[in-house]
């Protein structure tokens, strides 16, 4: 077996040193009737070549985003990731290291976490950011719990244009923790009256921008009303590139900002692993979930970095911890920070402009298709199109024609009666040919 260095001679010598006859003597604490005598009924070991064949066969049954005109978004976005990113995250010392519990030999990880935290704080316009969460949706759940700790209230108000999966994650967590959740109805136009829901019983208001229907939302009035009632505004985003062009949630008054960072540095990966970005005002640091990396000095007075404020965390506080979280999204977080470093402010704003320009071009083209109408006034790189037919059916027909057109709203909200709505995203990867292919296919189907 190529992964196991011990030879049978080694094993024999080692058993002798230990003073047992067979390895099963070491498993003597397993009840006799439960100790398996035979290998489990699964296939035997395989060489690399064979494994590669099996998995390649499965892979080839899927239609990859790069192989077709591709407009699918709704919380995960197809972007170009520079080759450098994937090379660097596969360096042994990054790939095969552990959580930096021994900081003297983990400064590489710790320094990039410190840089990552600084980048995320700048991008979101917040005071501090943590070392990442599992993803945007679980981060949103954690943000709500954090708001409950800060305000000592237990009622969250969720916008009707928050990504429905995020809503479900927050609802699941809240129901289990016996907390209250008020969910607004689906808000296609971004005009819901969320202000009227905010009163002195509310812990937090959760609003996404750009929202799941693509609308760009002004958060200032919501922030002001929340502040007036001692509630926190949690601003959510699922498209990190949008922050290159849009006002930051921090500048609009958000208390906590949480978002999905997949767009920067990370592949689509069929939904994971991704990287949750989490930032807050500095006065809430000690209520934040997740790992934090901080600057300090070593015994010689040299600058160095360590994980810090761990008295919030489960391994110290156990059932009194701020969260049960015991990991971050290490390599995805590294991919994010490398890509962001390659972009820099100049590259990020240009990338964001290209995204927006492509989406505007596509919206104009689709508006001219009979049976299709773009509903959004303002958007970044994704918008909602109202079709004359059920969107799920249209998407399926277009897939047969080799175009992946977007996400039917009914896939996310099957009971909402929004069956004719389609979410369409356009990023820098789309060419004029892609757009023409979508328009042509749509004309045939509608």
């Amino acid at each position: 077996m190529r992964y196991l260095p011990l030879s049978d001679t080694d094993r024999g010598e080692m058993l002798a040193r230990i003073g047992v006859q067979s390895v099963d003597e070491l498993f003597a604490d397993i009840p006799k009737t439960m100790l398996l005598k035979e290998p489990i009924d699964l296939p035997r070991r395989k060489g690399e070549l064979e494994v590669e064949r099996i998995l390649s066969r499965m892979s080839s049954k899927n239609v990859s985003a790069s192989s077709v005109p591709f407009f699918v978004g709704a919380g995960a976005y197809k972007h170009h990731v520079p080759a450098t990113v994937d090379h660097l995250i596969q360096r042994s010392e990054f790939l095969t290291s552990y959580t930096p519990y021994q900081p003297e030999i983990a400064q590489g990880t710790l320094q990039y976490l410190f840089e990552f935290q600084t980048q995320v704080a700048a991008l979101t316009g917040m005071d501090v950011a943590n070392a990442s969460m599992y993803d945007g949706s679980t981060g949103t759940g954690e943000a709500v719990l954090m708001a409950h700790r800060v305000t000592k209230r237990r009622k969250a108000v969720l916008s009707g244009s928050l990504h429905p999966h995020y809503v479900d994650v927050v609802k699941t967590l809240s129901e289990m923790a016996s907390d209250d959740v008020v969910t607004m109805g689906p808000d296609v136009s971004g005009t819901e009256d969320i202000l009227s829901q905010i009163d002195d019983s509310v812990s937090c208001v959760v609003v996404q921008t750009p929202d799941v229907f693509g609308n760009v939302r002004d958060l200032e009035a919501i922030a002001a009303k929340a502040q007036q009632h001692g509630a926190l505004l949690i601003a959510v985003f699922t498209e990190a590139v949008s922050l290159g062009l849009l006002q930051s949630p921090g500048s609009m008054g958000a208390d906590i900002v949480v978002g999905e960072g997949q767009s920067i540095g990370n592949a689509l990966n069929f939904g994971g692993p991704y990287v949750g970005l989490f930032a807050a005002k500095s006065k809430y640091i000690r209520q934040m979930p997740g790992r934090l990396c901080g600057e300090t000095v070593d015994a010689d007075g040299n600058r160095g970095f360590v994980l810090t404020l761990s008295t919030r965390e489960q391994h110290i506080r156990r059932d009194k911890a701020t969260s049960n979280i015991c990991t971050n999204s290490g390599l995805c977080c590294l991919a994010f920070t490398i890509h962001m470093t390659l972009l820099g402010q100049a590259g990020l704003t240009r990338l964001a402009r290209v995204n927006h320009a492509n989406a505007v071009k596509l919206a104009d083209l689709l508006d001219d298709v009979s049976g299709a109408e773009v509903l959004n006034k303002a958007f970044f790189n994704e918008f909602t199109v109202k079709l004359s037919k059920p969107a799920a059916e249209v998407v399926e027909r277009l897939a047969e024609k080799g175009v992946l057109a977007g996400v039917p709203v009914s896939r996310l909200l099957p009971e909402a009666g929004l069956d004719n709505l389609l979410l369409v995203a356009s990023t820098e990867v789309n060419t004029d040919d892609d757009r023409a292919a979508l328009v042509a296919a749509l004309k045939e189907v509608l």
């Binding site: 070491l26 009840p31 450098t84 095969t96 003297e104 400064q107 390659l342 320009a357």
Partner: protein, 548 residues
């Protein structure tokens, strides 16, 4: 050497008495920053740059980058009319960029300050730092897995769903459980999923109000009590015994109509298989409660025993431990949860089913006759990790996985037997599973602590073992070599630990209390970091101002 801010990166070199004098706090700070390498014999040969040959100093990105530099080329879009609704950003973001060669060098240099499994033996107990096969990386990057969107039509991702289904089949078969919830993003997230399923099952029986206690042994991972508390359970500890095992009579004493579940790690964090697990499971079930097993140490028994046979109702499996998906400096993990027949109906969405030869994905609670308790995460979980874990399982096969478990246990016991005369075993001289636990009794009166000992191991080129965990043992040292180590590697490791142990006992304190001497940093001041947290870089004050 000057950095881009025109400040010396290594002003301390070459006998300059106080080069930072009059340069302000930032310069003084950077003086400190630059001198990254340890003293020792090299200390008497200072260099101008502060670098020591291959050991390179690397400033922060923010000290070398510029906001107008980029390493990514895009053409500006042609004229178009923005539709941002007047919400355009007006302020600077303040993100410096690096060109591609600069970025490459920045991160390569950072990586060189890290210790990984590929560097050397990484015996971090309970964390399972085994070899990460690069085949698995290659497979995860196949376009049909890495370049597919979670919400594209299911007709276009049949192979991805097939892979999830196959991974699920392997996990269910290896554990003899009824079903698996794949979506949890990490071990602790899996615990949360399992405990939510238990809570849902209890509520379905109408006992939600009365059953609110979860039993957690003192030796458990901190995530266990944190998870239970997160969803409103009251945690009651099961006291530790001096033999390292949880005793069924201790559990029975705590059982009653208020107990919802026990969270038991097996093999436990003392490196022992819970030898009364069957009796404990029976007592738990007789009391109407559920058995949650923390599967962090499943790697010791894959192919040797099936948790389902032991009475487990829910168990998360850390794919990054048992099935060697890379730890990546702290993630991403993956924590699928296998469930017994009693809990299977409550598994969260989404899940994959096979119908008429086609895979479908159930994403909404009302699409099924079962009673899913909700949703753990957006989309379908950690696909990238599923591919790597399945590649591991296919490579090892049923026979290889069994052999891996046996070798892991053999290696740990070999270390135990080879150190037993010098180190102290808290629970007596008896076989362990995949990790061996020592306490610090043997260090008494040496003036050397577990922490000091760990730092001296760094100087010897090893990553230390897990320290001060489990909490039930004083000064714990938890050593998990994994099956990836050769006998020669173990022999050198053992010889090194013996040498260190004898040095400690001989009173060679300096070798320990000042360690590490040879790492990229000396011991770091964690108290200072926590007392006045600096969690991000801030621009230095202008020099003239600061000097006033």
């Amino acid at each position: 050497m000057l950095n881009r801010q025109g400040r010396p990166s290594a002003p301390q070199a070459h006998g300059v008495s106080d080069p930072a004098a009059g340069m302000g706090d930032q310069a003084a700070r950077m003086q400190g920053d630059a001198n990254t390498l340890s003293t020792g014999s090299a200390g008497s040969h200072p260099t101008f740059t502060g670098n020591k040959a291959l050991a390179q100093i690397e400033p922060l990105l923010f000290e070398i980058g510029h906001t107008d530099v980029t390493g990514v080329d895009f053409d500006e879009p042609e004229n178009f009319k923005p539709r941002l609704g007047g919400l355009e950003r007006k302020d600077e973001i303040g993100l410096p960029g690096l060109s591609e060669p600069e970025a490459m060098r920045h991160y390569v240099r950072l990586s060189q300050m890290n210790y990984g499994i590929d560097t050397g033996l990484f015996p971090l107990g309970s964390c399972t730092m085994k070899h990460n096969a690069r085949l698995n990386e290659r497979m995860a990057r196949l376009p049909g897995f890495s370049d597919v969107h979670p919400l594209q039509p299911v007709s276009t991702v049949q192979g991805a769903l097939e892979l999830m289904n196959e991974l699920g089949r392997y996990l269910v078969t290896l554990t003899n459980m009824t079903t698996v919830a794949l979506s949890p993003k990490a071990g602790a997230h899996g615990e949360l999923c399992g405990m939510m399923a238990i809570k849902a099952a209890i509520e379905a029986k109408g006992e939600g109000k009365t059953r609110n206690v979860v039993l957690v042994p003192d030796s458990a991972h901190g995530t266990n009590p944190a998870t239970a508390a997160l969803i409103g359970f009251v945690v009651k500890p099961v006291p530790a015994r001096d033999d390292g095992w949880v005793h069924v009579e201790d559990v029975k004493k705590l059982l009653g109509p208020d107990v919802a579940a026990i969270m038991l790690t097996n093999p436990n964090t003392c490196g022992l298989f819970e030898n009364q697990v069957a009796e404990i499971a029976k007592a738990i079930h007789d009391a109407g409660a559920y058995f949650y097993c923390d599967g962090a140490n499943f790697n010791a028994i894959v192919g040797k025993a099936k948790p389902g046979d032991l009475g487990v109702d829910a168990m998360h499996i850390n794919l990054h431990k048992t099935f060697s998906t890379p730890h990546g400096g702290g993630g991403p993990g993956a924590g699928p949860v296998v469930l017994s027949a009693r809990l299977a109906p409550f598994a969260p969405v989404p899940f994959v089913t096979l119908k008429d030869g086609e895979f479908t994905l159930l994403e909404h609670e009302d699409e099924t006759a079962e009673k899913p308790f909700g949703r753990m995460t957006a989309f379908h979980g950690q696909m990238g990790m599923y591919v790597r874990a399945l590649a591991y399982m296919l490579s090892h096969g049923s026979d290889g996985m069994k052999q891996a478990s046996e070798d892991a246990v053999l290696n740990a016991n070999y270390i135990r037997a080879s150190l037993a005369d010098l180190f102290s075993q808290p629970f007596g001289d008896k076989p362990c599973m995949h990790e061996v636990l020592f306490d610090d009794t043997w260090l008494k009166d040496t003036g050397v602590t577990t922490l000091d000992f760990a730092k001296a191991m760094i100087d010897e080129g090893y990553h230390p073992m897990t320290m001060y965990f489990p909490l039930v043992v004083h000064g714990a040292m938890l050593i998990e070599p994994t099956e990836s180590e050769s006998k020669a590697s173990l022999d050198l490791f053992i010889a090194t630990l013996r040498d260190l142990a004898m040095a400690a006992k001989k009173g060679d304190k300096d070798r320990f209390t000042g360690a590490p001497y040879h790492a990229p940093r000396r011991r770091l001041d964690e108290t200072r970091a926590a007392r006045s947290p600096v969690l991000k870089w801030t621009p230095p004050a202008p020099i003239a101002e600061a000097a006033e």
